[in-house]
Amino acid sequence: MLKYIIKKLLIGCLTLFVLATITFFGMKAMPGNPFSQDNRALSQEAYEALEAKYGLDKPVTEQYVIYMTNALHGDFGESISKKGQQVADIIISRFPVTAKLGLVAFAIALVVGLVFGIISALTKRRVTNNVITMIATMGVSIPGFLLAILMMILFGVKLGWLPVVGLDSWKHYIMPALALSFSSISMITRLTRSSLKDVMNKDYITLARSKGTKEVMVTVKHGLKNALLPVITYCGPMFAGLITGSLVIETLFSIPGIGREFTSSITNRDYTLVMGLTLFFGAIVIIMNIISDVVAAIIDPRIKLGK
């Protein structure tokens, strides 16, 4: 087990290193430099002073080494558009907002998806099944941000039930979290349904039933426990989806989180901030992938032997 975790961690580090390198040289390849954006003309001395301050006068390879060593110590440099603010500080101050919203969305997706999946796998009523299938199909196809726009117009503007800006009370969470988790709900519903249906036809379920185990126990202990595996492996990619979604959802609902920071840093061409956030996002997704892989391997030891 330990060997498996170490292997996963090493691959994760390698991936992050590749990402950092690509981002660094990508930023260097970008046309223009951060200071040519300024409207006021810079004198030659001021320009050189700025370049020296950000270390841009050194050769690229040296800049790369400096950047990587600093990044390892958690220092991503100073934001270019927000003078005097450290990139790391911006991330630390904005991240809790996104994390809270993301966790709420994650919980909704997991609970609703599992419940829908279980109902749809076990029910004998066709109507119930059809309704759930329809929701699941829509969720997989319709992008979350389109749903967010529609909800915003319906519940926020027309009916006035829910606030549309900010993230102050629990009411503020409803729409963004729902929009964020919509596609994950459908994915988890689909995964749970197909794997639970599969498992419920296995011999050991019949055996458990024939021994007189209560149906609830059979479903939860013998059925669900074995059916959960695909859902757990999906949790890793799901975090990537949540982060991608946070970008547009936070911008749409004006939520001061890290996703909105990312969009505005791109629009402002704030290179250091973009790089810092890219690495941060990448690291989160990679870590989440490792966690879901490891949990899956703990549940089903066959996995680590390789498919």
């Binding site: 691959i11 590749v18 829509m138 726009i149 503007v157 629009t267």
Partner: protein, 307 residues
């Protein structure tokens, strides 16, 4: 148990009259693979409806300059933010431009990006997946390792990087989308090729002296076309989604290029006052993406139960 032996004697059988012997008669019309698939596809009403909607959409989108009395940029200051009427079925926007016409022009770019990226992915995916699956061994391990590393990072980060380096034009958007989405296709092709190359017909071709390239293209890829086409259809909506959501947030295409994303971005500032404008775009987009998914599902069922 009783052990009974049946003795077959001639008098148990009756001779068929010569007039009834028509072994050459074919009771069912012989069908080609495509005809067979099309017949199955037609039975799926939802998929058929999706296909019809898509065909109508594509025709409208292509011929919109000929059909419409208004141009994309034509402004009518006396008719700003008009509600739907006979002259403007979807109403007009803040500058008095016809929304229906604008949505159709937007569809041109969005659909073009969707289909073009899917085709590029097809080519890259077949080459990469085909080689990796056919050669196997160490080559396969390295090629799949590269894919795993690319895939571990959320698509979004690459897309943002590419757009920042190469500008917010259509080609760079397509490059950005292709950069990660070909992986899905490559994986699909690889799995197919790996299972098909073990089959007898592939061995037979080898024995007859066919070159590796010929076996790969003529025998393996052709036989894997079903799953490949399904994968291809599913790529179009995801490309449309990526483009539209980035443009909507303002970091995708340049706002002067009409696509569904940029149009939605355009309507964002009147979302509270004239929500209907953005609703049109959202509805058309949802219908298109849903249709594509339905067609993909239908094709999957029609092509795959061949085997």
């Amino acid at each position: 148990m009783e052990n009974r032996e049946i003795v077959y004697t001639d008098d148990l059988f009756e001779k068929l009259d010569d007039s009834e012997k028509n072994s050459e008669f074919i009771a069912v019309e012989s069908k080609t693979f495509l005809k067979d698939a099309w017949d199955r596809f037609k039975k799926n009403k939802i998929a058929l409806a999706g296909l019809i909607f898509l065909v109508v959409m594509v025709i409208l989108v292509i011929f919109v300059p000929l059909l419409s009395p208004y141009s994309y940029e034509e402004q009518n200051m006396s008719l700003r933010n008009a509600m739907p009427s006979l002259a403007h079925p979807f109403g007009t926007d803040q500058l008095g431009r016809d929304i229906l016409v604008r949505v159709m022009y937007g569809g041109r770019i969005s659909l073009a990006i969707g289909f073009a990226t899917a085709l590029i992915n097809l080519v890259i995916g077949i080459v990469y997946g085909g080689v990796s699956g056919y050669v196997g061994g160490k080559v396969d391990m390295v090629m799949m390792g590269i894919i795993d590393i690319i895939y571990a990072v959320p698509t979004l980060l690459y897309v943002v990087l590419i757009l920042m380096i190469f500008g917010n034009s259509i080609p760079s958007m397509m490059l950005a989308i292709c950069l990660t989405s070909w992986i899905q296709m490559a994986r699909q092709v690889r799995t197919q090729v790996m299972s098909l190359k073990e089959m007898e017909f592939s061995l037979a071709a080898k024995v007859l002296g066919a070159s590796n390239l010929r076996i790969l293209i003529k025998h393996l890829i052709i036989n894997a076309l079903g799953p490949i086409i399904v994968c291809l259809t599913m790529m179009v909506p995801s490309a449309i989604f990526t483009e539209s959501f980035l443009s909507f947030v303002g970091i995708g295409l340049d706002l002067s290029i009409p696509s569904w994303g940029t149009l939605a971005n355009d309507c964002r500032n009147v979302i509270f006052t004239y929500p209907i404008q953005i609703v049109w775009i959202v509805v058309i987009m949802c219908l298109t993406i849903l249709s594509l998914n339905f067609v993909g599902d239908g094709l999957g069922e029609a092509l795959e139960n061949k085997r």
